[in-house]
């Protein structure tokens, strides 16, 4: 049996797997392995899980067939849950339990999913390696000396060592896709506005989407089906979405989006493309696009600006940790200085700079203009063509390898930020291994073409044979 959520779910419905047994085995696995991997920040109690499992069993016995019946799901700790703390990977929110559930959490619970724990991430999702978590780095189950990617590194790792069978990440500039590609798992960043952001602690609101993560394309499709849809609590969620799929597949490669990748990654991509051609899928090679070389600075300028604003609220006055000081001003300064990590404070400062009078025109305003140009260009290209590129230009780095050099660290996101700037869907999936390390490829389609990406993904899964794989460790 392939270890996918969809197949487990079917066995549960048929009565071949007992939910309680299944979920307690997961808990056991976490207890055994998570000390070294550190995928989770918090885990549900055994008692809570048993009760939840029994309730779902009763539902099934009464004839219901919930879409996620009994499946163990891990959730990135930047998505609000009223039954587990939600820390955003930051010390400043240590012990904060929101009084409400994110819309996606409500939907998962309604469909019988079991949320087993909250996963590790870079503080406030700011990072690409999960090394910036206040709760320690997450290690890659395929090689414990290497990072699991980020910022949804905990989610990806929890899937790849089998602690969870589905996971929710968030993707602001590749945060779900990058860790997926480093851990031989799958991530789908949906079209902006397809999934409600209500309850997602924001890093950069205009860029991010909650993103399903899994060990197969089918599983991604299943989780997306559960969480998508208009939400009146999120003004940016889109009502009455019409699917906008391609009539036939055409895959486009832009040389600019491949050239600077490491050799194993390039060859993995070209290999895959060759096999796709053999399957009869048309491919097209282009040299360049006009604006995508600006994507990285544009992305980081906008993300930092929005982050500096979103993070202004953490001053300890109503929730989270509070510092000392005899005036409000002194206490807020102390709260922030002693509870926000260095990387977060750096990004806030840069964001403040880009929004300040005298700098705003050259930075923030210029970036929004650049974003429009990039988006228009990408929308034009993806109209009849699915863009393909590596997810990351490099193989998973060793822990500590990139963290010291911010420019190298930020450059890891060069291919992924495009989809966020343009608001289009992007599917990341494993293409091959190199020296035991997974390599991921991503496909970017036009808005609301998730259906096409999933169908293409199923074809690729067949070609690569990589699906439902768990890292043996």
């Amino acid at each position: 049996m392939k270890l996918t959520a969809s197949s487990i779910r079917d066995e549960i419905i048929k009565g071949n797997i007992d939910i309680e047994d299944y979920i307690l085995k997961k808990l056991e696995l976490i207890r055994k392995n998570d000390k070294k991997i550190n995928a989770f920040i918090s885990i549900d109690s055994e008692e809570f899980l048993r009760e939840r499992a029994r309730n779902i069993k009763m539902e099934i016995n009464s004839g219901k067939k919930p879409m996620l019946a009994g499946i163990a799901i891990s959730i990135k700790d930047v998505i609000s849950t009223s039954f587990l703390p939600t820390t955003a990977g930051s010390k400043i929110l240590e012990g904060y339990v929101p009084p409400f559930n994110a819309t996606v959490v409500e939907k998962i619970l309604k469909e019988g999913g079991i949320i087993i724990g909250k996963t590790n991430l870079d503080e406030f999702a700011m990072g690409s390696t999960t090394e910036f978590s206040a709760y320690g780095p997450t290690r890659n189950p395929w090689d414990l000396e290497r990072v699991a990617g980020g910022s949804s590194g905990g989610s990806a790792a929890s899937l790849s060592y089998g602690a969870a069978d589905l996971s929710l990440g968030s993707d602001t500039g590749g945060s779900a896709r990058l860790p997926a590609s480093y851990t031989c798992t799958f991530g789908l960043k949906p079209t902006y506005g397809l999934v409600s952001r209500y309850g997602l602690i924001p890093y950069a609101n205009s860029l991010e989407q909650i993103s399903p993560m899994a060990r197969s394309v089918e599983d991604l499709a299943l989780l997306l089906k559960v969480i998508k849809g208009y939400d009146e609590k999120d003004a940016t969620s889109i009502p009455r979405v019409k699917e906008n799929n391609y009539e036939r597949f055409k895959v486009c490669v832009i040389e600019d989006l491949v050239r600077d990748s490491d050799r194993p990654i390039k060859s993995s991509l070209y290999n895959l493309l060759h096999k796709l051609e053999l399957e009869g899928i048309e491919t097209e090679y282009r040299e360049k696009l006009d604006y995508i070389n600006y994507a990285l600075p544009v992305y980081y300028t906008i993300a930092f600006a929005e982050a500096s604003s979103n993070l202004a609220r953490y001053d300890g006055k109503l929730y989270g940790r509070m510092g000392n000081g005899e005036t409000y001003k002194k206490a807020s300064i102390d709260t922030r200085r002693s509870n926000l990590g260095l990387e977060v404070r750096k990004r806030i400062l840069m964001g403040v700079l880009t929004l300040s009078e005298g700098f705003k025109n050259e930075y923030y305003i210029a970036a929004t203009k650049g974003r429009r140009l990039i988006r228009d260009e990408i929308l034009k290209v993806t109209k009849d063509c699915i863009l393909v590129s590596p997810v990351s230009p490099i193989l998973p780095p060793r822990i500590g390898e990139k963290i010291g050099d911010p420019l190298k660290l930020y450059a890891m996101d060069v291919y992924t930020v495009i989809a966020n700037l343009a608001g289009i869907p992007a599917l990341a999936l494993p293409s091959s291994f190199y020296n035991g390390l997974p390599i991921g490829i991503q496909f970017m389609g036009k808005p609301f073409s998730e259906g096409s990406l999933i169908r293409l993904g199923l074809i690729i899964e067949k070609i690569t044979g990589i699906s439902g794989v768990i890292a043996s460790g």
């Binding site: 609000s80 609220r313 300040s356």
Partner: protein, 481 residues
């Protein structure tokens, strides 16, 4: 000595108290009736991950106000974040509107036309802009002020309540005009159904005053229109004195102390503050066209239109204004007239005598249920018009009853007593008072009128008529007594 010229500009923050909801969540816009921190939700508490969703009604109301004052309304408006750290501001940014940096407010310039009843003149002041924004929470100090208190308490019930900020150009001629303009704005917003200006804290005014030869001074925290006039007069006096004494008036922000009737320096403003404005990425821009279409389907009622309507009926403008200033009163009047009540008689009853009685009895003038049923008003005006009763007979006999029971429709009229017969009776009984009268004590006449009215108890009698008859009687019979 020639007095130094000055300029006044206003920023009027009005709460859309009648919007029903807060600006971005479903909590109540009228927060006053709740215990501290109970009219709140994740959105207005600014909890991480909660998202603002613009509510329709506050936006419709703000657009209706903008439309009324002939604003240039953009095709779509944008909400902008304005950042500053403060205990009562949960997100440490306020969601507002701003015309720069990709922002777009609800109104980009208009004209506030307001009525000056003393001069019977419509005046105008240019509006620079209007913007919709959220109110912050409220800080209260254990001892009432920040210096004496050990504790400060923050109540977030007000957090997120919709405000409409109206900014005028600095061209208001006098403190009195400032007051009249604000009063007219508030009255208009009441007619539109946007706010109840009598609710505590429902509006605040910041005033800018610059006197020739000095820099601009901003006075904050003015909570009533009377205080606005007082604060402006005080500031003009203060600044003129400094400048005339060869002193320097530097740019600063001052605070109005309504108890002592003075302004105090709050901070000097050396440079523009840094608010890091940028469009709120959680809120897509809102196109105004469909909302305006909805507004235009029903015509907006304004004091000006009602004033015109009442004047056309034949009521003089002073009386018309007196009706218009109280919306409930004007509505009662127009309904009564529409079912055939005499306009002149009705306007006099409502705007003068009924209003006076309401005031005396301590009842609210602003509640529609305290004003008479239009049907009763028609019946009464018919009685006077048909000369069955005089105005004063009605005024003394019916109006007090109506005030104590405004729902009354059946006007039971007292039997008419014949004053002549009662006068003869009183004349026979009150010899001493009659003598006093002849000896020049004029108040004896009041006493005699009183006696006659007392005898007529329960029956309709017109005191003026009694007085005239008595006087006539006394002069005719001066030889007898």
């Amino acid at each position: 000595m020639v007095e130094l010229e000055y300029k006044i500009g206003l920023e009027i923050h009005t709460q859309l108290t009648e919007a029903g909801t807060k600006l971005f969540c479903g909590c109540d816009s009228n927060y006053r009736k709740y215990k501290p921190n109970t009219n709140v939700c994740p959105v207005c508490l600014g909890l991480p991950g909660a998202l603002p969703v613009p509510r329709k009604r506050p936006i419709i109301l703000a657009l209706a106000v903008a439309e009324t004052f002939n604003c240039k309304i953009p095709e779509s408006m944008v909400f902008t974040r304005k950042h500053y750290f403060y205990p009562d501001l949960l997100k440490n940014y306020q969601i507002t509107q701003y015309e720069k940096g990709g922002g777009m407010p609800v109104c980009l310039g208009g004209m506030l036309k307001y009525y000056d009843p003393d001069l019977d003149l419509w005046k105008k002041v240019k509006l620079r802009r209007m913007n919709i924004e959220e109110d912050p929470g409220k800080t209260e100090y254990s001892e009432g002020n920040i210096l004496a208190s050990e504790f400060a308490y923050v109540d977030y019930n007000r957090s997120g309540v919709p405000l409409l900020e109206v900014v005028t150009e600095p061209e208001i001629p006098t403190p009195r005009d400032a007051r009249k303009a604000v009063e007219y704005l508030l009255l208009t917003m009441e007619y539109i159904g946007a706010m109840n200006p009598r609710l505590e804290g429902s509006f605040r005014v910041d005033a800018n005053i610059s006197v020739e030869g000095g820099e601009r001074i901003e006075v904050k925290n003015i909570g009533s229109t009377l205080d606005l006039e007082r604060a402006l007069r005080y500031e003009i006096f203060r600044q003129r004195k400094i400048i005339e004494g060869k002193g320097i008036v530097e740019r600063e922000t001052r605070h109005w102390d309504p108890v002592r009737g003075i302004t105090k320096s709050l901070r000097s403003k050396e440079s523009e503050e840094e608010y890091l404005y940028f469009p709120d990425p959680d809120i897509p821009m809102i196109s105004t066209e469909p909302l305006l279409k909805e507004i235009r389907e029903k015509s907006i009622i304004t004091p000006e239109k009602i004033m015109e309507k009442i004047s056309r009926i034949g009521i003089n403008r002073k009386m018309a204004w007196s009706l218009v200033t109280i919306k409930a009163c004007a509505e009662t009047f127009l309904e009564a007239v529409s079912i055939g009540a005499d306009p002149i008689i009705s306007s006099r009853i409502l705007a003068i005598d009924y209003k006076g009685h309401l005031r005396k009895s301590g009842m609210s003038l602003y509640k529609r249920e305290n004003w008479p049923d239009p049907v009763a008003l028609k019946k009464i005006s018919d009685l006077i018009r048909n000369k069955a009763y005089t105005y004063d007979e009605i005024k003394y006999n019916i109006i007090p009853k109506l005030v104590s029971d405004p729902k009354m429709i059946h006007i039971t009229l007292p039997e008419k007593a014949s004053p002549e017969k009662l006068i003869t009776e009183v004349m026979n009984e009150e010899r001493k008072a009659i003598r006093d009268f002849y000896q020049g004590k004029k108040e004896a006449l009041d006493y005699l009128v009183g006696k006659v009215l007392k005898k007529a108890y329960g029956k309709a009698m017109d005191p003026k008529k009694v007085r005239n008859l008595l006087e006539e009687f006394l002069y005719k019979n001066s030889n007898i007594y």
